[in-house]
């Protein structure tokens, strides 16, 4: 019976080869070609010059910032949703926006955050000074966090939900108050969800490009912006591919570093490893 199934698996192998392995391979090859299609290391040399290193630094800093704020907002949100009666509905409301196309949402935010947009209208109504959101770092962070936060909440929600009620009762029985329970039981036991959330948010936020252009108005240039620029504007595909290759390699390394000790830990505990998916951005 399993032999039959193995035959069908070939479709997935083909899929992975054609749509994952091959494109990555092409990007690698492309990254060694200069503007005149000569094979050399010039793109990598350029990357390790100051401009691109600064971009890399920017990307990492913003990705970290987005991830950190998402985490700080998502953990209490996930925890509080679980405490309410309407957890299913609240969860669906949180997930729903992630089904809508990112570009649409970004455009919607342009309207909301504009100088005479919805948000500023409200501020004016409240007799407050309007704030320049669009084309600022503020706006960029607001929109990015809005986009990514469901991907942080979901894994954390799942891991908190799986904590047996008896452990909470036991901690309380032994004298722990609400804060001590959160600090000593819930946070450590939802570590897997937090890890997954961090990866799912940090990795795609490293290569954001649409939001930087539309909301931040090129105030922030990240690696994602640079890749887009090279492929669509300057036509230097080799340079774009080199940046892409470096991103791919560092992501693989970071996933490996984050996952490896976790796997070792889980093998001992005999627990399923939650799959780490990428946010569709």
């Amino acid at each position: 019976m399993f032999k039959d199934f193995k035959k069908y698996a070939i479709i997935y192998y083909l899929w992975i080869i054609i749509f994952v392995v091959l494109p990555i391979l092409l990007i690698f090859i492309q990254s060694f070609l200069d503007m005149n299609h000569h094979f050399n290391l010039i793109n990598y040399k350029t990357f390790f010059s100051s401009t691109y290193l600064k971009m890399t630094f920017n990307s990492i800093i913003y990705a970290l910032l987005i991830t950190l704020i998402c985490l700080m907002l998502a953990f209490p949100t996930a925890y509080l949703i679980l405490k309410t009666k309407y957890k299913k509905i609240l969860l669906i409301l949180l997930i729903l926006p992630s089904w809508i196309n990112l570009l649409l949402k970004t455009y919607a935010f342009m309207g909301l955050l504009a100088t005479k947009g919805f948000l500023n209208n409200i501020l004016v109504l409240l007799n407050l000074n309007p704030v320049q959101f669009l084309f600022t770092i503020k706006g960029f962070l607001i929109v990015s966090i809005y986009i990514f936060i469901p991907f942080m909440i979901l894994p954390i929600y799942n891991s908190i939900e799986q904590i047996p009620e008896n452990l909470i009762k036991a901690a309380q029985d032994l004298g722990a108050n609400k804060w001590q329970i959160i600090k000593k039981i819930i946070i450590p036991l939802s570590k897997n969800g937090i890890n997954a959330g961090i990866q799912v948010v940090f990795i795609p936020s490293l290569s954001i490009f649409m939001i930087t252009r539309l909301i931040a108005g090129n105030q922030i240039i990240t690696l994602g912006t640079a890749i887009e620029e090279h492929f669509l504007v300057t036509g230097n595909w080799g340079m774009g591919a080199a940046i892409g290759s470096i991103l791919i390699i560092s992501l693989f390394l970071s996933i490996f570093i984050v996952q490896y000790p976790r796997k070792k830990f889980l093998r001992k505990k005999n627990v399923d490893i939650p799959s780490v998916g990428g946010a569709n951005v």
């Binding site: 047996p164 008896n166 452990l167 009762k169 036991a170 901690a171 309380q172 029985d173 032994l174 004298g175 722990a176 108050n177 001590q180 000593k184 039981i185 450590p188 036991l189 570590k191 001992k268 505990k269 005999n270």
Partner: protein, 350 residues
């Protein structure tokens, strides 16, 4: 009487509790003395675990009071009550090792590292787990987990230890071993244990005092021997041990009529002509060679190791459960005999 009052450790007063429109307790009261091993025994859904939850503070009653040491704790949160629990599935923290599990309640208080270590070691040595101090929880066997859970619960010197079916996950041999250990532990700690179980054998073996519960009501309370020998009603007789329960009529003057035959008995505090339930334990029925009033035909016979478990049927169709070392064959007709003191009479109402 005054002495008794002074020794009361826990008191549940007129507890009313309902959940989802179902009444669990209606005016339930109980008093538990200091330094005693209590068992709450009953089938699932009888409310025994709910009583533990009320004492621990996980459930608040709709009405009524809970007192510990005479102090009203009804509205005090579980983390402020000097009561600790050993949970059914141990509820050990999987992210902490043995030491940190046991030290959990100490780590919430301001206690020096040296004292903390000393107390953890004392608690672990108390349950014979001194060598396992840095083990991961996942590496422990069921019995070892059980001991860690006990050490964790007693480290804070609680006034009362609550045990929620702590032995149900262990295999038979270990369960028997742990029964002895728990009993010993209670004697050494000299605090009140409230042990919840549906296993009558555990209850009879360990307890100073048993509460038999059904549907949120105390069916009978008393020491194990009284409960076994003198069940108050059909429920208790049926739940505790195996028994033959037969409808009968008390004729007065220490005589009872069972299936048209008149037998002598020693229970006499019934009115003449009262319908009663008669309990005869299967080990009190003797298979004899001489003719008696009770003749049965053997239906089944099961080898149980120490004895045979035999079911016989008399002429009226009544079935009798017999424990005997005599080997009789199904189909065989035998006579049964029993002594007057082996007949226990119970009132049919209650």
């Amino acid at each position: 009487m005054k002495w008794g009052k002074m020794n009361i450790k826990i008191e549940l007063k007129n507890i009313f509790l309902s959940y989802d429109h179902t009444v669990i307790f209606e005016d339930f009261s109980m008093q538990l003395d200091d330094n005693k091993f209590y068992t709450l025994l009953g089938p699932s859904g009888c409310g025994k675990t709910t009583i533990l939850n009320l004492i621990a503070g996980f459930i608040k009653p709709d009405a009524g009071q809970i007192l510990i040491d005479g102090i009203d704790v009804t509205n005090i949160e579980p983390n402020k009550r000097l009561v600790n629990t050993v949970f059914q599935d141990y509820a050990l923290f999987p992210h902490l090792n043995v030491y940190d599990n046991v030290a959990f309640s100490l780590s919430l208080q301001k206690i020096s590292k040296i004292e903390k270590k000393k107390r953890v070691m004392d608690a672990l040595n108390f349950v014979n787990l001194g060598e396992y101090i840095y083990r991961d929880i996942a590496e422990l066997s069921g019995g070892q987990k059980q001991r860690v859970a006990i050490a964790r619960a007693i480290i804070n010197q609680p006034k009362v230890l609550l045990l929620d079916e702590p032995l149900s996950a262990l295999d038979l041999k270990l369960r028997t071993e742990m029964q002895y250990e728990l009993k010993k532990l209670q004697k050494e700690l000299a605090i009140t244990f409230v042990f919840v179980t549906h296993d009558q054998e555990e209850a009879l073996g360990m307890s100073d005092y048993i509460y038999v519960l059904n549907n949120g009501q105390v069916m009978q309370k008393g020491n194990p021997i009284d409960i076994y020998d003198e069940p108050k009603n059909r429920f208790v007789a049926d739940f505790i041990g195996e028994s033959n329960i037969i409808s009968a009529k008390y004729l007065g003057d220490y005589q009872v009529k069972i299936n048209n035959d008149i037998y002598k008995c020693v229970d006499g505090n019934f009115n003449q002509g009262t319908l009663v339930d008669v309990v005869i334990r299967p080990e009190d029925l003797k298979i004899v060679t001489h003719k008696t009033k009770l003749k049965v035909q053997i239906i089944t016979r099961l080898f149980k190791g120490m004895h045979y478990e035999i079911v016989g049927q008399d002429i009226s169709g009544e079935k009798w459960l017999i424990h005997s070392i005599k080997n009789v064959m199904p189909g065989e007709e035998v006579f049964l005999d029993f002594d007057p003191e082996d007949i226990h009479l119970m009132s049919t109402n209650v």
